[in-house]
Symmetry: C5
Subunit: 88 residues, 5 copies
């Protein structure tokens, strides 16, 4: 999984019939201190995350393991809101 920072949202009217449910969040993949490693991925929210939150995203088929996304054509989902990262 990757640590990511939510920086925005995307809105789409014309879309696949199964792409429903969670908000489409625009996120930057970051390191443990917030430095951007990969900008502008889009992940479906399943946790009530919003702009500014640091989240954990699962990519690939893992993104369809949350119950609400089982048949959705998605390859990235927010699976947790991160409270704290401890680096040593």
């Amino acid at each position: 999984m990757r640590v990511a920072q939510v920086i925005g949202t995307a809105i789409a009217t014309v879309k696949d019939a199964r792409l429903t449910g969670g908000t489409l969040l625009v996120v930057n993949i970051v390191d443990g201190k917030g430095k951007v490693l990969e900008p502008a991925h889009v992940a479906v929210d399943t946790c009530g995350a919003g702009v500014g939150d640091t989240v954990l995203i699962a990519q690939g088929s893992a993104a369809r393991l949350p119950a609400a996304l089982a048949t959705a054509p998605v390859d990235a989902a927010v699976v947790a809101i991160i409270d704290q990262i401890t680096l040593s």
Copy 2:
């Protein structure tokens, strides 16, 4: 998923028997402001997207979740046409 800009189309006569249906769109993966991050991916259209559209693409096995692509040998599909990205 990634935000992408449709920049062209590809045509193939000789192809796998299951590679039918949607247009093969050539897209650049971009950030929320249109800056190119990864050029020249090819995604199958399932939304009626065309050149100039900003789209959402799903990669990997997610690309075969749209009904028309269930058995197609594809690893990227347009699953939405993006109306608006709001960054904050």
Copy 3:
């Protein structure tokens, strides 16, 4: 999927029992104008492609959707020979 240019072939005598069938093509992933983006991927041919052809490759589990490759340990396959790319 990616656009790729076939640049050679690989030959292997010792190999997994299920890795049979198509030729192992060495390809460079290119953009729509032929500029190399990622060198030296190996894709199994399912279309009769040869050196010099511009092809479409599917990566990941999509590579096992062509009928001949259903149980082969492959993660990239040529699924089309590209006739023409139109960029605008």
Copy 4:
């Protein structure tokens, strides 16, 4: 798989109901001599690994093969603690 060095942990209260079990380890992907190749991946622990350990991580659907993670929305797991790497 990749060689990785465990550099920290992540804690999340709000998370997918299936994201339970192992600790969320923050790891850097390294080469055989410890040089960082890709910083800040998050892998679920299944081996009792801790900060400072050199581990083997499996990515993608492979991360759900360990028994405890079969239905967890995870795309990276620690599948071994590496004792020794011999380069020649």
Copy 5:
């Protein structure tokens, strides 16, 4: 698939119960002439490959198609030992 050069081995005592069988080979992904493209991947051997061999590795779920690896938590496997690459 990728062309890779075997440069070493990894040993692990503490590991997932299903991570058995083949040797864990440390490999560099190379181009057709041996230039390193991506260092330090770890692939399970299924072909009797050893240090110095040029091999073909399958990544992702393809790595679990060899019979011995069907339930192993692995995302990369050596599926062939390459005798010869012909570039033109």
